[in-house]
Symmetry: C2
């Protein structure tokens, strides 16, 4: 598709007509002064769309944001990190509503025009006494062009904020799309997998936007996996306020296709950033499955390979172990024939027709020693393809995830449990 994207600065603050703000409340760590509460506001009415976790255990803010979206469009998003407000029952819903109310009234909006998101530890009540004194600063801090603070405020075990913004030329007008994302752990495909906020000054109807979001999520966030664990809080929220002055983008037109392509690019860029910043990740691996009989078979193979603990361990070790890859292909439940499977690593054949290929092992090892490489698995049975983005699994990941006891101790100290 013929579109021209230009990277610009500013993340979710880059599109016209958005104000953002972020403050530190001590939710992540009462002792440290880290940003952990963020606000995004559109200055104009806007269209909105969302995609949420398919986990049957849903955090309170997921339930509340879903309900608000059903009632109409959002105009602002409030989000915190450090506590997921998940498995918190009726009190959790009350706290999520309180977060909405705290920003809705001062902004002159209805509660149902606020999207609310939380990310962090599961099962502990929200420390609302830490948030409440900070809403004033959060609201007075609203300013244009400060998207970077939102990206910082939503991260948890991420090592860096992740944001992107682009300008895209749609004929008569240029529109901007900005986004930020947090990821790190509990990352596995099956609906958007983390918190992701995207703003745009394009003029798109809610229905049109909803369709574009679902399609783009399927080709970006649903294609990544770090540890195979799907979160209770995964949320993607997209706001489109038309501030660019572009006339409404009509469904199925040329501009609509270009806008979707640009949105897809932004989501894929953010999704890949999530994998690259996965918990204790050292490798970014793109797995292309080709030649499957049907799309679903290609997907099953990609997921089995990208989620296998043994395959991911070998990537961590820089071992071009095609035997472990084909063993995961075999148990994927896709219809495959062992004797037809080819596996290329970094463009070099590692396995041809289910057997060791003649490429010298040291040549393959030097490819897998790199921080990023591609694997192509050709089933040679049809024409369906699927691509996924995965990481290695490191001893440090497990070390890092051994205990969340400190959170419980803090919650006890705070009188929350």
């Amino acid at each position: 598709m013929d579109i021209t994207l230009t990277r610009i600065e500013g993340g979710v603050g880059a599109p016209l007509g958005y104000l953002t703000s972020a403050v530190g409340c001590g939710i992540k760590n009462p002792a440290a002064d880290r940003l952990d509460l963020a606000l995004i506001q559109s200055e104009l009415p806007c269209s909105s769309a969302g995609a949420f976790t398919t986990n049957r255990v849903k955090a309170a803010p997921v339930r509340v944001s879903q309900a608000h979206l059903r009632k109409g469009d959002l105009r602002a998003i409030v989000a915190n990190s450090g506590n997921a407000n998940a498995c918190t029952g009726v009190q959790g819903i009350r706290d999520a509503n309180a977060m909405c109310d705290a920003v809705a009234k001062p902004l002159g909006l209805k509660r149902t025009e606020i999207g609310v998101c939380s990310t962090g530890v599961i099962g502990l009540p929200m420390p609302m006494m830490r948030l409440e004194p900070k809403f004033h600063d959060l609201l007075t801090g609203l300013a244009p062009g400060r998207g970077g603070d939102v990206a910082k405020a939503i991260i948890t075990s991420d090592t860096r904020p992740k944001e992107v913004a682009i300008a895209v030329d749609l004929g008569t007008h240029t529109v901007r799309i900005g986004g930020c994302v947090k990821g790190a752990g509990m990352i596995s495909p099956s609906m958007a997998t983390m918190l992701c906020f995207i703003t745009t000054d394009a003029n798109v109807s809610s229905e049109n936007l909803r369709k574009a979001v679902l399609e783009c999520v399927e080709e970006s966030f649903n294609r990544i996996t770090i540890d195979g664990d799907m979160s209770t809080n995964d949320t993607v929220l997209v706001l489109a306020n038309g501030a660019s002055g572009i006339p409404a983008i009509r469904r199925n037109g040329q501009r609509c296709r270009q806008f979707r392509e640009a949105l897809r690019w932004v989501m894929l860029e953010l999704a890949k950033a999530v994998v690259r910043d996965g918990e204790r990740v050292t490798k970014f691996v793109t797995v292309h499955v080709r030649g499957a009989r049907v799309h679903l078979d290609a997907k099953k193979v990609a997921e089995a390979v990208c989620k296998s603990a043994l395959v991911k361990s070998s990537w961590n070790g820089g071992d071009p172990n095609w035997g472990r890859i084909i063993h995961a292909v075999g148990y994927s439940r896709a219809r495959i024939r062992e004797e037809l499977v080819d596996i290329h690593i970094g463009g070099k054949p590692a396995c041809l027709g289910g057997l060791q290929a003649p490429t010298p092992m040291d040549e393959l090892r030097s490819i897998v020693a790199e921080p990023e490489f591609e694997i192509v698995i050709n089933l040679n049975q049809g024409s369906a393809d699927y691509t996924m983005y995965s990481s290695d699994l490191s001893p440090e990941y497990i070390d890092f995830n051994r205990s969340e006891y400190a959170y419980w101790k803090q919650a006890r100290k705070d009188g929350l449990i």
Copy 2:
């Protein structure tokens, strides 16, 4: 069920009428003198049954053993460790056949009366030049009561041989059942998951035995997981030679039920031993799912929890993290209602109705600090149950599985690739 089991010594050599032998060929490590080739022979004709991996990539010995079982009963089993003879094409089938021929002729049996098994690295040709000079010693070494050597010869990354034998009183006669198993890595439910050999001197028809084996495998080996990776070589082979002198055990009679119960006990004992000796495992965790609407829902919940990298990391850290357990319950695709879920750890409530239970955290921590504990997840929606046996996932597991490069180097040295 009213049966009396007595533990006896001798593993697969304990039942009457079986000879065993094992030698070291240097397949595992040419420098070390470890047992890696084993033989089990029934002195009498016998019934036999098998269960095999459902991985679509099947090792050559799996294909050969399956073909032999379709032609009639087995009377001997030859098995090696150190090389899986998987993804080895036509040469792999030739090598598996050659292993059968090497023992069939001297024993006066047909090739199709031999079961053949391999376990070890995938994708490298069998180093037959190491096995061939040792078949003579293997055959002349056949003796009664030496099952322990077979258990030793089949292990790879296991830390210890695993075997069990029992005597069971079936009214007029006592019969014996002996078994050994190797496991350690690539252990995940969905058909038997490793090599397991079981001998018995009971008198059971092949059809009757086949049915009992499938039923017992379902309730033992299909209930365990270590790393969620299903091997290409998983095989359970059972021989029943009637040497106890007991009259044929008829289908559906009291003795048949007792025999099945005893066989199930042996398989479950071996399956649990596999988990306890999983690669770099420090915890043995029994997960009971109760109150599901249907059996399949209970199974989905148990598998999601037992395979979750985050849950397994928390077990490794001795963290009674019910939040991670319920998050896996949520993404299991079972029909669950968050607000009905109870989770007990070591008999103490950790989560009631989807919320934090009042049990002090330190009480739960002292339970999870133990090397073995039980978790009960009650969905409170019906009466279907499912139990699985799982382990933690340790940083050392990943370290251990980072590279199999040494095998490739050896194969290159041997002129095999």
